[in-house]
């Protein structure tokens, strides 16, 4: 899931200030926390209140899309809803904003979110945590199902570093050391010997930006 955090309302109000009629578009896709119709409605209410305090009366409409990163779904869902709309505020990740920009080039689209990372939802701890860095050269088979690229602050291929302390990371002692977890995991699986081989630099050239595959 793509994890996002809402931008400060001031920032959103600033870039929306030249417009009056705005469509606030939620995304029912993978954004976390969910940014669907409820979130879009709440944001619209907040902007309306915030606008009033700045003597600005927005005319806000609210909608949601099945997934904003699908150009066809986005165009077909939105094209019937944009009459009189001067700007669109997207609650999706950066993909959503750019897909709307592509399919509706005549209307400026703005992000209400900062897109953070690909995160797992660890419900029991009430956290969303980065677990995959989309590096294009997956090594989870070797590392016991724990990714050192995403979960080690230094993205070390051969770890742990000297900063691993009591299973925690020296960069942020709140977080677990990925390499400590990998070693314990491989020990449990009886595959610790897999780490005897020094891993050479990963082929990050698998994905040249912008990444693209045919479907």
């Amino acid at each position: 899931m793509i994890v996002t955090a809402q931008k400060p309302l001031d920032e959103i109000l600033d870039f929306l200030s030249p417009y009056n009629s705005i469509l606030v578009a939620g995304c029912d896709g993978c954004t976390q926390p969910p940014r669907g119709l409820r979130e879009a409605s709440t944001l619209a209410q907040l902007l309306e209140l915030g606008g009033k305090l700045r003597s600005k009366n927005f005319n806000l409409r609210v909608t949601t899309l099945p997934k904003q990163c699908d150009s066809y779904l986005t165009l077909t869902t939105l094209q019937t809803q944009i009459e009189g709309i001067e700007a669109i505020l997207s609650l999706a990740c950066g993909l959503g904003v750019q897909t709307i920009t592509q399919v509706l080039p005549d209307i400026p689209t703005f992000p209400s979110q900062n897109t953070l990372f690909i995160g797992a939802e660890i419900r029991e701890d009430s956290i969303l945590e980065e677990r995959c860095a989309a590096c294009g050269d997956c090594m989870l088979a070797i590392t016991g199902g724990i990714c050192p690229i995403a979960r080690c602050a230094k993205s070390l291929l051969n770890g742990p570093c000297g900063g691993s302390q009591h299973g925690k990371c020296e960069i942020d002692p709140e977080k677990d050391c990925a390499w400590d977890m990998i070693i314990k995991r491989l020990e449990k699986l009886g595959r610790l010997s897999a780490l005897e081989e020094i891993r050479t630099p990963s082929n990050f050239g698998q994905v040249v930006r912008p990444g693209r595959v045919g479907v």
Partner: protein, 389 residues
Amino acid sequence: MELSAKQQKVALKINEEYCSSCAACSSACPFEAIKRDPETDKMLLEIEKCQVCAICYSSCPAKAIDIIYYDIHSLTRYLENAKEEYKSDSLVIMCKGSAPDFQDVEKLFGVSNFVPLSVPCVGRIPPELLLKSISPMGIKKIYILACDEDYCRFERGSSITGRRVTALNVFLEQFGYAKELIKLKRNSLKVKVDRNKCISCGNCVFYCPYDAAKLEHGAASFDLELCRGCGLCVTLCPAFALDLEHWEEDRISALISKLPKEKKKTNILVLRCQWSTFPKLEGEFDSNVHVIDMPCAARVDPLHIMEAFQNGIDGVLIAACPEEDCKSQTGSKEARRSATALKKTLSQIGLEERLHFCSVAPRYPEAFREELKQFKVRIEIACSKEVRQ
């Protein structure tokens, strides 16, 4: 200044002068709050455990329990006045938990004109009141609406009422009254799901305190036997796919949009968990304080709070139970979390003071009034600041 527990007025007391230590209260109490002291033989109430269901009050044969809420005298007085007002000889006593709306009572019992009495749990009604209402008050038919037994927020309130009704009916028939003069129905308010709107986020599955939700064929589905109607899933559903009977999204919005506003005063909306503080039977607050009862603070929806602000409400006060008293397990905790998050967002547009979350318990009847009083002062200050700017 916060009063310590000892200094505060409490809702319930055992009057030692009348108490014969029969322990009827202790065996009826669902929360083990009353015990007999083996040394002195006195009945001891542990107020911190008491949830003020008043089942002890309605069970005590010696009238040795003094209670602040809905004592027999105020109930009698209310019924006498209400009988005049509604001009009916049918009485409907309903638990707030299962019938927040008089219209629905009409549907359930088929009576359109009746004297309504709405209380938090029917288990608190002393049998004496039912007999009094028949004679001398002249009530011809009594309908009691209780929650399903396993849904009762006070565990035994519904089942005890069931037994009392059976016994009273036998007794009344023997005395020549109509058969089944007291009619009991059970009703529980539960979640409704629109599977077409579900986006399979899994929030309901994770947050339901009763494990009533699961994802089935790509959409949420509920085991209604397990649902306890707290409304937490409804508030957390990002797609408006869930709703709660009687506390529907639209119904609450409509209530908020219709609130009468006082022009010259600050307007306060209290979103009150109906178990956190009990209302008086007649007229509660000043005309600028509006109250909407919730099945649990978990049903308090940030969207409704925003709607209230849009509708000219100056301050919203959420009254929840302390977490350890919550009748829906995690409801109060999640409500606090949600209110804290909303307050943080509101602070970005300078409105954080307009929302306050308080936890209060009916065992301290003055706690809520004190919170409200302080909140009113803060809102008045906040509003006067804005006018000056």
